[in-house]
Symmetry: C2
Subunit: 134 residues, 2 copies
């Protein structure tokens, strides 16, 4: 088995070290938050296993792990909505990554045909969803 | 048992309906992405169970579920870094929420004493972590 990344370490190394030690969960995944490089707005939340993370770093194109299909997912491979990675940040305990991306086809970022998966806002009073983009 | 939220439905209702139907995972959690209301920058990624989500909506102050402590977590209860919720967006299949918040003590957003948990950037060439804020 090829080891793609270093293993997690104790808190001081994990939080302050310069070694990338993604902390994959019991399912072998880290959470990926994806934002638009131009606007900074959130686009989607996805998950990455070691292979998806490695392919993303190798190619500069975002790859995820599809939990529903249980397979490697090159985002946009079918729709053309490929995501070019401009920056990746890692959180304190390294179980989440934040990708800033440029989309090749912004209108197809969400599978519903929208520029973001976060197209509804929650009315905090009555707990109903309100469209925030069309 | 008190039912706090409606159950998930089929794709069209889940994706296009106005009813909030959070899709909790096998551990009873949704992913929460938290951004700064003023700057839009990502602050942290956390998780919410139904109780945390309900308490957040009731009080306007962000509550999460601590997976490490396995308990309800009112963010900032000890540090004072309470998060006032300005807006919540929900993603297409409703298994992730995006909170835009104002922090009472921005310098203590991360437990390491930083304004965000995403204080390191990944050098995409050599896969090393570089501090992006002090």
């Amino acid at each position: 088995m090829v080891v793609l990344f270093e293993s997690p370490a104790g808190p001081s190394e994990q939080e302050e070290g310069e070694t990338f030690r993604p902390r994959f969960d019991a399912s072998g995944l880290v959470t990926a938050v994806v934002t638009d490089h131009a606007t900074g707005g959130p686009l989607m939340v996805a998950h990455m296993n070691a292979e998806a993370l490695d392919r993303t770093l190798e190619t500069g194109i975002a790859h995820y792990w599809s939990r529903s299909r249980q397979s490697l997912w090159k985002k946009g491979e079918t729709s053309g909505a490929l995501q070019s990675v401009r920056a990746i940040h890692v959180d304190c305990d390294q179980d989440a990554v934040w990708l800033s991306v440029t989309c090749a086809k912004p209108d197809d970022t969400c599978h519903t045909g929208r520029t973001t998966c976060f197209y509804r806002k929650l009315d905090l009073q009555n707990r109903k969803l309100i469209p925030s983009i069309s």
